[in-house]
């Protein structure tokens, strides 16, 4: 016989073993050797947290009482798993793309991130799970009591304190490995691997007991089957069809809705593809777990003394056969089942409680704006988790103490299932129906929960404990149609099936009606589309691991908005500031704020905040969608900047066109003016020549002096005509490029000297300022042509300068490979509207001092164009100013 001390030691050793495994797994995960931790089999085994102590011990008891009905508890989840393509895959993908942390998070996130809904789900989950945790504590203490029984009642008199110790130990384990790090993924490698090991332990323990029963006691398979058939109560198929179908439905719903199952199925899932393995391996595990239940039950019923607790056959059967080693193994199996369930349930519940109840309250209590809390709040979250874990376990213990650990507790398993099964309606409704709304979900849940409380939970404490006998029999205040076990007067149903049926039906009805009659908020509609069309939105599943992945995503996004180079520079700069090697900095709060500011310049503050918080925290829209938005925004921005550029170009072109038009109009006017001028210019000498030649011809009595005078006038006029025609010819030669240039090096001073000498003949009293030193510059050009230009400019100045003491300043300066020669007089200059046309042919400034034909400057321009230089009017010099620039070496000479 195994003593209690040995058993305690075994428990402690087993606990230490689990600690070690979890610790090793965490360390391997940190060191990147986590490949085997992410194997699909580990995932499948972790799902076995579905099989708790209640199924480990209780299934046999269940079979002993109700025959094959216990199979429903395993068949339901198996069917859900086999149908993974339809439902689970979608929930997993949603969990991944929305980074859901719990079942409450899933539902609240679907319905517009309503915290009220999250609180409601959390409360229902706590109410539904607490009795279940109590059940685990009870099974552990009961199994202890089995071993203690031979030592007398005093040996384990204090089972209550034993339960407390177990609860405390589990709390320690859960706090240690469940809140070690605050990962955005909420994954716990250590816990998962410990759960997987426990799955193997409990399966082996149950199989060992089963094999011992069938082949050790029973004498083989056929004899065992025969003995089952021979049993009076269990020998024939006997089943309440309502319970058979109802329980399969209930357990199937429980797989999806139980917080601990959601934790291992969705939250701890590393890779969606693990579901493929689980789709057949999990049903196989379920088959193995339930295979020997019936033989053990029948053997227990036939071999053990009347009145033995069938819930403990798994222990008492080997003990009665003297197989204490097997019994201890079986005990460890039961212990495993209990601990794994409590650990995962505590993690799942604490996540919900801390995220949806504790943190919102804490944030509200902070002075100032809740969402603007500065600094790191992670320690707050972790503390909240730890407090929640301890709270949940203490609640379970309290429930165990208060319920007295009797048979009432054992009945609560299925009732607990049916409580959390209320989530099924908003969950499935939310992921398959876009029209589901928050109002509908809340109202449906409230209805379902109320019906569940009334029909299942409150009566579960037993007749007269919470609900009096009278209420059960006649309904509250005599309302017969409200009898808890015969709502609307429909009696005769099994109470459990009755409760499940009505609560789920009314839940679904209110959910549907509420959804149809209410109008969803924009966030709900957005989330609805995200959830229902998750496969279209999320693309290939990616795993999110650690901060660099986030930084990388931030970089991708930033590049799309800021441009690749700027974004990389920003990130590199930040990485340098943080002292991190490489380009990717840690996504620290400062950096995020900075990035957000940078981004808000591109897309506006609200969007930038949404985008950053999407990648870092959890927000409404999936990253892929935001990237699409970013792409679109970038495209739109690029497009609009292109449009802007184009429109600026158009404005420029229009301005140029307008200018050209003005110039053309002016030129046209000038041409007209010139034509009249030239005809006048040509006519005037022609007229005088004709007139005087007629006088000479027709007046014979003319004096010689008169003849000479008239002949001189005719000669002068002819010269004028010739000059005019020469100019025109010169210009046309220049314009046609037929001019021959005589290039030779010459000093500017010589050219200027010649030009000034040529113009001095007019005898005007203009003062010319010169810069003799600068004029010494050598230039390779056609000296005659350049002289012609200078003569023209100086003559113009003499002709048009209207100052009382006309002065002309000639300045020479260097400009790159050219010389600039400026001719600036102190007259009133060229009016602004004329500046544009003075270089055109036939242009003449004003009507004053009619002299040339307006060809001088045009000829200058053409000459300089031939010489490779230019001439321009310099406005704003206090008078008329012309800038001539001549290349130092002619382009032709250089060739």
């Amino acid at each position: 016989m195994v003593s209690l001390n040995v058993l305690t030691a075994v428990c402690i050793c087993y606990g230490a073993f689990l600690f070690l495994i979890a610790f090793a797994a965490e360390r391997a995960g940190r060191q990147g050797r986590s490949g085997w931790l992410k194997a699909p089999m580990v995932y499948t085994l972790s799902l076995s947290v579905y099989c708790t102590a209640w199924t480990f011990y209780g299934a046999v008891g269940y079979a002993a009482r109700s025959g094959l009905e216990y199979l429903t508890i395993y068949i339901g989840p198996s069917l859900v798993m086999i149908g993974w393509v339809v439902g689970l895959r979608k929930i997993l993908r949603i969990g991944r793309s929305q980074r859901v942390t719990s079942v409450a998070d899933l539902i609240s996130s679907r319905f517009g991130k309503s915290n009220l809904l999250a609180v409601a789900v959390t409360l229902i989950a706590v109410v539904g799970t607490t009795p279940y945790i109590a059940l685990q504590l009870q099974s552990v203490t009961q199994s202890f009591a089995i071993f203690a029984a031979p030592e007398g009642p005093g040996a384990v008199a204090d089972t209550q304190s034993l339960a407390l110790w177990v609860a405390a130990g589990l709390a320690a384990f859960t706090v240690l490995f469940g809140t070690r790090n605050l990962d955005a993924n909420e994954r716990h490698h250590g816990v998962v691997i410990a759960i997987a090991v426990e799955a193997v332990v409990k399966l082996c323990a149950l199989l060992a007991v089963g094999i011992f029963t069938v082949w050790g006691i029973g004498g083989g398979l056929e004899e065992t089957l025969a003995r089952i058939d021979a049993h009076a109560a269990l020998g024939q198929w006997q089943m309440d069809n309502g319970r058979w179908s109802g329980l399969i439905f209930l357990s199937a719903a429980a797989l999806l809705c139980l917080p601990r199952m959601f934790q291992v199925l969705v939250v701890e899932n590393e890779d969606e593809r693990h579901l493929r393995t689980a789709s057949w391996a999990f049903p196989a595990y379920m088959i193995a777990m339930s295979l020997f239940v019936m033989p053990i039950a029948v053997a227990g019923l036939t071999l053990l003394p009347e009145g033995s607790n069938p819930d403990m056959f798994v222990l008492t059967l080997p003990l009665s056969e003297g197989q204490s080693g097997l019994a201890v193994f079986s005990f460890i199996g039961g212990f495993s089942s209990a601990t794994s369930m409590v650990i995962v349930a505590a993690i799942a519940l604490s996540t919900m409680v801390s995220n949806h109840i504790v943190m919102p309250i804490w944030l509200k209590m902070q002075p100032g704006q809740g969402a603007m809390v500065s600094g790191d709040v992670r320690h707050v979250v972790i503390s909240a988790r730890r407090v929640s874990i301890i709270g949940v376990l203490f609640l379970g213990y309290l429930y165990y103490r208060l319920s007295g650990g009797g048979t009432a507790l054992a009945a609560i398993g299925l009732i607990s299932f049916s409580g959390v099964a209320q989530f099924l309606v908003p969950m499935l409704g939310g992921i398959f129906w876009r029209g589901a709304t928050r109002v509908g979900a809340l109202a449906g849940l409230a209805t379902g929960f109320a019906v569940w409380l009334w029909c299942l939970f409150l009566p579960s404490f037993g007749d007269g404990v919470v609900l009096s006998q009278a209420v059960l029999a006649e309904g509250p205040l005599g309302f017969g149609w409200l009898r808890p076990q015969a709502l609307f007067g429909i009696s005769g149903l099994d109470p459990l099936v009755h409760g499940v049926l009505w609560s789920i039906l009314l839940n679904a009805l209110v959910f549907t009606l509420g959804s149809l009659l209410s109008f969803p908020s924009p966030m709900e509609r957005l989330q609805g589309a995200q959830f229902v069309n998750v496969f279209q939105h999320s693309g290939t599943p990616r795993s999110w691991s650690g901060g660099t992945a986030q930084s990388e995503d931030l970089l991708i996004m930033a590049q799309r908005l800021l441009g690749a180079r700027e974004a990389q520079a920003l990130f590199q700069d930040e990485a340098g500031r943080q002292g991190v090697k490489g380009v990717l900095p840690e996504p620290s709060a400062d950096f995020l704020l900075r990035l957000e500011r940078e981004l808000s310049g591109s897309v506006g503050a609200a969007t930038a905040h949404a985008m950053v918080s999407q990648i870092v925290g959890r927000a409404a829209v999936s990253v892929e969608d935001l990237l699409a938005v970013a792409d679109e925004t970038a495209q739109i921005m690029e497009y609009s900047s292109q449009l802007e550029a184009k429109s600026a170009e158009l404005v420029r072109t229009a301005r140029q066109l307008r200018q050209a038009n003005e110039t053309l109009t002016q030129i046209s006017h000038q041409k007209d003016a010139f034509l009249s001028q030239i005809s006048h210019e040509l006519r005037t000498p022609m007229t005088s020549i004709r007139a005087f030649s007629e006088i000479l011809r027709d007046t014979p009595e003319m004096t010689a002096a008169q003849k000479a005078r008239y002949g001189g006038i005719i000669h002068d006029e002819a010269l004028r005509l010739t000059r005019l025609l020469d100019d025109l010819l010169d210009l046309s030669v220049l314009e046609n490029g037929q001019v021959q240039l005589a290039l030779a090096p010459v000093r500017l001073s010589e050219v200027l000297e010649r030009a000034i000498d040529a113009t001095r003949s007019d005898g005007a009293e203009m003062v010319i300022h010169r810069d003799r030193i600068a004029e010494g510059a050598l230039v390779e050009t056609d000296a005659d042509r350049l002289t012609q230009v200078f003569i023209n400019l100086i003559a113009n100045a003499r002709k048009y300068c209207d100052a009382p003491r006309p002065e002309l300043r000639i300045a020479v300066s260097a400009e790159g490979a050219a010389w600039r020669i400026d001719f600036i007089d102190n007259g009133s200059g060229v009016p602004r509207d004329q500046q544009a046309v003075i270089f055109e042919k036939f242009a003449r400034v004003g009507e004053q001092k009619a002299g040339g034909a307006g060809l001088g400057l045009a000829i200058c321009r053409e000459i300089l164009a031939r010489l490779g230089g230019s001439i321009a009017y310099l406005p704003g010099q206090g008078g008329a100013a012309f800038r001539v620039s001549v290349p130092r070496r002619s382009a032709k000479a250089a060739r």
Binding site: I82, I287, D625
Partner: protein, 108 residues
């Protein structure tokens, strides 16, 4: 002259995959139906089905479902499901999985 076999092969393969996905979706329904059969069995101590036969039937169906699921998973590559989700289906295996947004869809 040889007929162009590539496209025909692809078409047939993706068709096969579609039907496999159909099968995977229908499998739980089949399971529900087959495991619902015990509800039709005669009950009671005298003419009731013997428990051993009930056990063999239920476990047989159950194991058969698990086996069928394993076979389906084996035949159904992940890419086929991805393609099915994305609504393309007939793309070759090396094509990108993302379905381009239709013009009437909002990116956000």
């Amino acid at each position: 002259m040889r007929p162009p076999r590539g496209p025909v092969f692809l078409e047939r393969r993706s068709y096969r995959r579609r039907r496999l996905i159909d099968a995977a979706r229908l499998l739980p329904l089949l399971g529900v139906l087959l495991l619902g059969v015990p509800m039709l069995w005669p009950q009671g101590p005298e003419q009731g089905v013997p428990a051993s036969r009930a056990i063999l039937y239920i476990f047989g169906i159950w194991a058969g479902l698990a086996l069928a699921s394993a076979l389906l998973v084996r035949r159904l590559p992940d890419e086929a499901l991805e393609a099915y989700d994305a609504g393309v289906g007939d793309l070759p295996a090396d094509a990108p999985n993302r379905r381009p947004l239709r013009s009437d869809e909002k990116a956000g």
